[in-house]
């Protein structure tokens, strides 16, 4: 897969504070890429550099193989974490205005605006002022304004905040649909569940540096602690086997026993042995959640710095 965005060794220094310390990352074409990190880690600084709001002090950003330039603005759609619209403008006019700033013609912007309002069931609000809309509806308007010019790169900063579960689900469907249509999506969030659900790759930024990067599945594999949950038929208890595994305390209320494989033991060996000696009803490997990985990595990072 070709990289649509390449961030190479970007450094950004603000007065008295280093925001980005030699950050690099590659976002494959047509993927959903998660940009993770605690507050103040440098995510927003990086996003602002990618969408040309600010400039990096050193390093470069490539878009589709060329150095990103002012003319690429029309290829980017940005939904900032802090949403905002002109309150006194009419919904339709507002969407058309932002679309035209991104280079659409008036006619094109109008017809797309109508389509999108229809899709989000906001058509009847077209001639109402933005301030008359509920917060959720304003969020939808902002989402429309972000995607209306069919950008090849979409940057969503905490897109789900402020949405109720029903609307969040609709938003997720729209985001996946945009990816399927070929857009590359950069997705900045704290919400680890949504990362596991939709991101293929991630970069975790902490204290201005990338501390973890790569494919979500691979990261989970590499962070696994070789723990297997085993379900035995009936009331049978798990027999110990010091050569293969260690028994872990069972989680309260769970039927499953937890074992940690000893170093060098494969799951196949352990399950094979268990299958012969007990009535095995089921088993599955426990992979760490992205949430755990996030917290552990950030903590580890803090210890290392201290």
């Amino acid at each position: 897969m070709e990289n649509f965005i390449e961030v190479r060794d970007v450094v950004k220094q603000y007065v008295g504070h280093l925001a980005l310390d030699h950050v690099s990352m590659n976002v494959p074409q047509g993927s959903i890429y998660g940009l993770l990190g605690p507050n103040g880690a440098g995510k927003t600084s990086l996003i602002r550099i990618i969408n040309l709001i600010t400039r990096a002090d050193s390093g470069e950003v490539l878009l589709d193989g060329h150095k990103i330039a002012e003319s690429d603005v029309s290829q980017i759609g940005y939904l900032p974490e802090e949403r905002g619209l002109y309150k006194k403008m009419k919904v339709g006019d507002h969407i058309v205005y932002l679309a035209r700033l991104k280079g659409l013609s008036r006619v094109e912007a109008r017809s797309l605006m109508e389509q999108w309002l229809e899709r989000f069931e906001l058509s009847e609000w077209r001639d109402k002022k933005v301030e008359a809309l509920s917060k959720g509806m304003q969020q939808k308007v902002q989402f429309i304004a972000t995607v209306i010019h069919r950008p090849r790169l979409l940057i969503f900063d905490e897109p789900f905040s402020g949405f109720d579960p029903v609307n969040a689900e609709q938003l997720k469907r729209e985001i996946l649909a945009l990816r399927d249509e070929g857009s590359t999506i950069l997705f900045s969030t704290h919400n680890m569940e949504s990362v596991e659900a939709i991101c293929q790759q991630i970069s975790l930024i902490n204290h201005s540096r990338v501390v973890l990067q790569g494919d979500v599945a691979a990261i989970k594999q590499s962070h696994k602690k070789n723990i297997i949950a085993v379900d035995l038929a009936g009331d049978e208890t798990l027999a110990p086997n010091d050569a293969l595994y260690t028994l872990l305390p069972r989680e309260a209320g769970s039927r499953e026993s937890l074992i940690r494989l000893n170093a060098g033991v494969t799951m196949r060996e352990a399950i094979g042995w268990l299958n012969e000696h007990c009535h095995l009803a089921g088993f599955h490997e426990i992979l760490p959640s992205m949430n755990e990985i996030f917290i552990n990595t950030v903590k580890l990072n803090q210890h290392a710095e201290a």
Binding site: E70, V73, Y86, T146
Partner: protein, 439 residues
């Protein structure tokens, strides 16, 4: 350019479409016309509505009973001390039929004092009328007492009033009559317009910037266009709103003065029976009073093309200069209430400029006037005052050059501040921070 045009368009339409704008634009000329019309109307109503009142004149000298003429509002009835008796008792018995009692004491020739009694505060118009009549009469008596024949006429002839006419020589030797008063008024009006405009619309720009910032729309805007475009779009858009407003005012004021003027003219013609020339002549061929003609001639003698041309230049330069500052300072704060630390210096400069302008009207070629019309922060206001007095061309050219150079520099600096400021939230910024952003 396309984006700049879009932003200007939005700024312009968003303000012009507001109810408050429409309200202000229509209300202010009406208020201005009312300012002139109301006193005239009130004076008219005051004179026409009230009944003629009777004032008793108790003449203790026996010589000045008829000295006070009747006026539009008062009829004076001479009485003698015998018929009246005690003035207060007499006044009480009249029970409202008499408005006041004037007592001319026996020694009035030497004391020069007359007393008016009433149970009300004595009306100023009545006092003035009595003063005028008694002064004339007593002056006449005194002149007559010298026994010089024809002295009255001699005194009248010897009292003169010199009319100082200003005539300007142009280079070809031709003469045009000028009026210092008209030049002064014109200058003050132009400088006041500049002052008002810069403050009103400067504040509007600042509030717009703060609103965008608190709204957080600015982040979306910044990802679509350059901050410079956003700032200039606002400055130009709001400037155009101002020009629209001024244009509407000029038209409305013209219409209102024409309508109001003709109404007042008609009504005064109806009541002014003592002006037979005006009342009997049809309005179209109305002969113009020579004084009015002179003023009109002097107004016509002012080189309006030149003044308006310069006004527009200074106006644009001054507006750009201050608007850019307002935009930059607006970007540095999170809410309007935090802006005062930045706006106070601007206000101070503007007020100083206005006072300098007023002072320079007295001596438009003095060193202070020349200096203040060179300093870019005061020149748009001060030069307006000097303009009607023919400023040397080199001064004018230099002043405009300095103003525009400063305005462009300020816009450039403001853009650098703005670029950083609009994306900074949650921190109170000082002048020191702003200076850092420029680097």
């Amino acid at each position: 350019m396309q984006k700049l045009k879009l932003i200007i368009e939005r700024e312009y339409l968003s303000i012009v479409g507001r109810k408050s704008f429409i309200f202000m634009t229509i209300l202010i000329p009406i208020a201005m016309v009312l300012c002139f019309a109301v006193p005239i109307g009130i004076a008219y109503l005051n004179d026409s509505g009230s009944d003629v009142q009777t004032v008793a004149v108790l003449d203790e000298t026996g010589r000045y009973g008829g000295a006070i003429d009747d006026s539009d509002l008062y009829r004076f009835v001479p009485m003698t001390a015998d018929s009246v008796g005690d003035p207060h008792e007499f006044y009480r018995q009249a029970d409202g039929a008499i408005a006041a009692v004037v007592v001319i004491p026996a020694d009035v020739d030497s004391s020069l004092q007359v007393t008016v009694y009433s149970d009300n505060t004595i009306n100023a118009a009545l006092k003035m009328h009595i003063d005028d009549c008694m002064s004339d009469t007593l002056t006449g008596t005194r002149i007559a007492s010298y026994g010089v024949p024809g002295l009255q006429k001699m005194i009248e002839d010897s009292s003169v009033n010199v009319d100082v006419k200003g005539v300007k020589w142009s280079t070809d030797g031709s003469e045009t009559e000028t009026s210092t008063e008209i030049a002064m008024i014109l200058g003050m009006v132009l400088s006041l317009i500049t002052y008002m405009f810069v403050l009103m619309y400067g504040a509007m720009i600042m509030n717009g910037v703060i609103e965008e910032k608190t709204n957080r729309i600015v982040e979306v805007m910044a990802s679509s266009c350059k901050p410079f475009q956003l700032m200039m779009g606002k400055v130009i858009g709001v400037g155009l709103v101002g020009l629209t407003q001024v244009a509407i005012w000029v038209v409305l004021l013209g219409i209102l003065t024409a309508v109001g003027g003709s109404m007042l003219g008609l009504s005064s013609m109806g009541s002014a029976a003592e002006l037979p020339t005006m009342a009997t002549t049809p309005a179209t061929t109305m002969p113009i009073d020579p004084d009015v003609a002179g003023v009109l001639q002097q107004v016509m003698n002012i080189n309006f093309g030149y003044i308006i041309g310069c006004f527009v230049l200074y106006f644009i330069g001054g507006y750009l200069l201050f608007a850019a500052l307002f935009a930059a300072f607006g970007s540095a704060v999170d809410q309007a209430s935090d802006a005062s630390q930045f706006t106070t210096p601007i206000m101070l400069i503007m007020v100083i400029a206005l006072y300098a302008g007023i002072a320079c009207a007295e001596n438009p070629s003095g060193p202070m006037a020349v200096w203040c019309s060179m300093i870019p922060f005061t020149s748009p206001i001060v030069m307006m005052v000097r303009l009607p007095y023919e400023v040397p061309l080199w001064q004018l050219a230099l002043s405009i050059a300095i103003l525009f150079a400063t305005a462009i520099l300020t816009v450039w600096l403001a853009a650098r501040i703005y670029r950083t400021g609009i994306l900074r939230y949650g921190k109170k910024n000082s002048f020191k921070d702003i200076v850092k952003w420029i680097k």
